[in-house]
């Protein structure tokens, strides 16, 4: 039941926040925080009562038995980490939008719903439930962009939705096929994994799954929605997009291909590697030429998530572990960069790198925070990002030297875009507007939390590694068993 609570609590939190916000607009944020915190407690309870074995906890409830669907939720280290991440980012965004005035109750409710839906993705093991949450997740994100966004937000929101919803159809189609393929209609992922699917079918099904996941990830050439969505989204929206939504794609790729289609993965992984290698370099190169700070960070996300794809497709222990760590690390660093750029935007109403500058002199705290997360983006040792990248590269050396070299090249290019972002904002003198107000304490709190996360997991990643280990191991074993 705790697992259901993990999904239900944020969801109810959103509803009650909306209701409370009707009476008293400021009550909404408190309700949201309380419910999200209850979610954290539920997660802690899960940890306390974890069972030995592959899965820490598993819940099966009937849902629509006639249609072969049931509520199957399971949590292991990977899911645990992702759920913890989503709750943390949810709390963080609510705090960050504490003083929001524009339809604040709805905003807080939407944040809660985003968390609820992504928790659903992270926990669901009934494939229909997975597809359900997968599509559901789009709705609050869509609202976040469409309501609170900047500039051409409607177009960006629709682009976001169309890309992801069309890709989601691939997932949906594959899920139905799987459901219908068995002796009885069943969408139980474990049962399907047990039963095994015919190898040729696995390839097609994996393509369907991977389409959804890779668009969400996103990997070039499916990434065009991301820069627009990030640019037009409000700060909290960008944080959730980068920290959570992208991670659902990575999580999906991490979890399901090896669970359901090991043979298909065996066949398609090389292509995934090629795509990831291309995306890494491509995202980095395009990032080098951006003038909008958020777009730049968005393209760096493309590059980093492509590394995740490479790590997953590498299929060896190191690379998978590295991919898992990058997922977490990138959530921290990208969220923080979006937060900082958003704070700059709030002050001077521009994100144009050609117009910004001089933070070093006028706002040293800003500058320090930028410096930290800029180095995290470059995968400086000591940050979790480095650990992830290094593990992926190690894995790539085991797989194919070419990919290792490409990742190394991307490390070099990351300095080019990283310094571009950093020095255009922090150094020099501003062309247009000077940021005069330094980070407030309400902004500083989340920044510090993210900074601690980045550094802590960079230095003491054992918790992450222990958590990821079972998932990584089963992926590696599944692939090993699938190798002819």
């Amino acid at each position: 039941m705790a697992l259901i609570a993990l999904i239900l609590l944020p969801f109810l939190g959103g509803i009650f926040a909306l209701i409370a916000g009707k009476a008293e607009p400021t009550a909404a944020r408190i309700v949201a925080v309380v419910f999200l915190f209850c979610g954290v407690l539920a997660l802690a309870w899960t940890y306390q009562h974890a069972e030995a074995g592959r899965w820490m906890m598993m819940t099966r409830e009937p849902w629509a038995p006639a249609m072969g669907m049931s509520i199957i939720l399971a949590i292991d280290g990977l899911s645990f980490i992702m759920v913890a991440l989503s709750l943390a980012l949810g709390l963080l965004t609510v705090v960050l939008s504490w003083n929001a005035t524009d339809r604040a109750p709805l905003l807080h409710a939407t944040l809660c719903w985003t968390v609820a839906a992504s928790n659903g993705v992270f926990l669901a093991f009934d494939l229909v439930l997975l597809a359900f949450f997968w599509e559901l997740m789009l709705v609050p994100s869509f609202l976040l962009i469409a309501i609170w966004g900047h500039g051409d937000r409607e177009a960006a929101a629709i682009k976001f939705l169309i890309y992801n919803a069309i890709a989601g159809l691939g997932l949906l189609a594959a899920v139905f096929w799987i459901g219908a393929s068995g002796p009885t209609v069943s969408f139980d992922a474990f049962e399907v994994a047990e039963r095994g699917l015919p190898p040729t079918a696995q390839i097609w099904l994996l393509l369907g799954f991977a389409l959804a996941f890779m668009v969400k990830l996103p990997v070039p050439p499916f990434h065009a929605w991301l820069p627009d969505a990030h640019t037009q989204a409000p700060t909290v929206g960008s944080i959730l997009l980068a920290g959570l939504l992208l991670k659902t794609g990575a999580y999906g790729l991490f979890r399901f291909p090896t669970l359901l289609f090991p043979q298909g993965m065996e066949v398609l992984a090389p292509y995934g590697l090629i795509l990831g290698a291309f995306g890494t370099i491509y995202g980095a190169l395009v990032a080098c030429g951006q003038t909008d700070a958020k777009r730049l960070v968005a393209y760096t996300s493309v590059a980093h998530m492509s590394v995740v794809l490479m790590g997953i497709c590498g299929g060896v222990h190191f690379s998978l572990m590295g991919a898992g760590i990058i997922m977490v690390a990138h959530a921290f660093s990208a969220s923080a960069l979006f937060l900082l750029i958003g704070a700059v935007y709030d002050r001077v109403h521009t994100r144009d790198l050609r117009e910004l500058g001089g933070l070093q002199r006028s706002a040293p705290r800003f500058a320090a925070a930028f410096a930290l997360f800029f180095s995290a983006t470059l995968a400086m040792p000591g940050t979790a990002n480095f650990l992830g990248e290094a593990l992926v590269i190690t894995g790539m050396f085991q797989v194919n030297w070419l990919y290792a070299s490409i990742t190394l090249v991307s490390l070099v290019v990351s300095v080019v875009y990283g310094t571009r972002l950093f020095q255009r904002i922090v150094f020099g003198t501003p062309r247009k507007a000077q940021v005069t107000v330094d980070l407030s304490f309400r902004e500083l709190g989340p920044v510090v939390v993210l900074a601690i996360g980045t550094l802590l997991f960079g230095v003491l990643p054992q918790f992450l590694m222990t958590g990821l280990d079972p998932a990584v191991n089963s992926a590696v074993e599944a692939l090993r068993a699938a190798t002819p």
Partner: protein, 446 residues
């Protein structure tokens, strides 16, 4: 008891007669209450009775009861969104007649009941359409009359061919390989496709949605579709083995999905968009029927049952606004009238097939049926159609959230609010927990 299955129909007919009889003198509320009572009584009877085959003409099986129940619900919904100020006295009686016709259709097992039920729906619909006596309403009614006449003649021609070939009027006689029967089947399909608003027999649908009262649109969009769908399901196993039925349905379905979605693409008027999209939804149903999947019946019934509340919610919201519900007129609705706006959003998302709304399960059934049957071409058409659908539904959704809104003077009346809430609750409730509905559908196969 042999007459068991007839009771709901009798109640509906009786209520219609009473409503008509008292309409000139009694107050509007009374008429409406009687009609509502009749519908509720019929609903209860349909749900409660365990009747078996009553005659060769009408069956009272589970599917018929399911159809009757759904028709009664749609009748209630249509009653609920009749605007008190402007609805003529005859409207409740006409709604009852249309419901009766659709109920007859859902129990039809014979040429006579098929024909009479169909025409009853059509004529009641025409009468409902012209009630406002405004120029668009009259135009829509006139077109429906002319086209409906052609449709009726075509259908009759088809029935006559089959009768001529086999000498039987029951559906059971259709499984002949005679060419005459095949031609008859083609004509029959054309007649039914008209009522089911499949391309190219669909032209009247958007007119009804935009020119006629919302109640007429509900009848056209839900009640008549339920009846025809059940008829199609009943006919499906009886049809000639020559394949005209499946091929024809597939062709009509593909055309409907493509054309319906394309025509809705930039349609600025909400009701008209709903009209075109309802053509597309009929197309999806036709695709399921054409696929010959094992659980075609479940999928079709489930699809209609899930489509109904969303369509109702959208139409109700549009009707309540009392203005031209087009893209410019709906700007910022969510902020001006949160309830109406939210329900409309929910309805549109449900129609688009996004989760948490019941429409998701409809999509789910659609795709899984097509995938199970292995008809990947049809599946591709359905997927492409849904993708296009996303565009126009979301276009309206985004408009609702725009901040440069227009003024909406009149907040919804409490009864209207209750109706909207009920619709929203149905959409979300079934969206989260579709199990019971599915169980009901599974228990209601013809």
């Amino acid at each position: 008891m042999a007459t068991m299955g007839l009771e709901p129909l009798a109640v509906l007919g009786l209520a219609a007669v009473i409503a008509m009889a008292i309409s000139p003198r009694a107050s509007d509320g009374t008429t409406r209450s009687i009609a509502a009572l009749g519908l509720i009584a019929a609903l209860i009877l349909a749900a409660g009775s365990q009747g078996a085959l009553t005659s060769a003409l009408l069956t009272g099986d589970a599917a018929a009861r399911f159809g009757t129940g759904l028709c009664c619900l749609s009748g209630l919904a249509a009653l609920a969104i009749l605007r008190p100020a402007s609805a003529p006295r005859e409207a409740p009686a006409l709604i009852l007649l249309a419901t009766l016709g659709a109920s007859v259709l859902s129990g039809a097992a014979h040429a006579a009941t098929l024909f009479v039920g169909l025409e009853l729906v059509t004529l009641a619909l025409i009468a409902l359409t012209v009630l406002p006596r405004s120029a668009p309403a009259l135009e829509a009614g006139y077109k429906l009359l002319i086209l409906g006449g052609i449709g009726a003649a075509t259908l009759l021609m088809g029935l006559a061919f089959a009768f001529a070939a086999t000498g039987e009027l029951t559906f059971a006689a259709w499984s002949s390989t005679d060419r005459l029967v095949a031609l008859g089947a083609a004509l029959l399909l054309a007649g039914l496709a008209f009522k089911f608003s499949l391309v190219p027999f669909h032209m009247w649908t958007p007119d009804i949605f935009s020119g006629a009262p919302a109640a007429a649109a509900i009848v056209a969009g839900v009640a008549s579709k339920v009846g025809v769908a059940i008829v199609l399901l009943r006919l499906q196993p009886q049809m000639p083995a020559t394949g005209i039925w499946q091929t024809g349905l597939a062709a009509l379905g593909i055309a409907s999905v493509v054309l319906g979605n394309l025509q809705a693409l930039r349609q600025p008027s909400l009701p008209r968009m709903l009209g075109f999209s309802s053509i597309a939804h009929s197309g999806y149903l036709a695709l399921i029927l054409a696929s010959g999947a094992a659980d075609t019946a479940q999928a079709v019934l489930f699809y209609i049952a899930t489509y109904a509340p969303a369509l109702f919610a959208a139409l109700a919201a549009a009707a309540i606004l009392d203005r031209d519900a087009n893209l410019t007129g709906l700007r910022g609705l969510v902020w001006a009238q949160p309830l109406t706006g939210a329900v409309l959003t929910l309805a549109l998302l449900s129609l688009a097939g996004l989760p948490l709304a019941v429409g998701f399960w409809a999509k789910f059934q659609l795709f899984s049926a097509l995938a199970q049957a292995g008809t990947y071409g049809l599946l591709a058409v359905a997927i492409l159609g849904s993708a296009a659908g996303l565009y126009f539904y979301l276009r309206f959704t985004v408009t609702l959230f725009r901040r440069d809104g227009v003024d909406f003077p009149r907040p919804p009346h409490w009864q209207e609010a209750a109706v909207l809430l009920a619709a929203a609750a149905t959409i979300v409730g079934l969206g989260v927990y579709p199990g019971p509905l599915y169980a009901l559908v599974t228990a209601s196969l013809p």
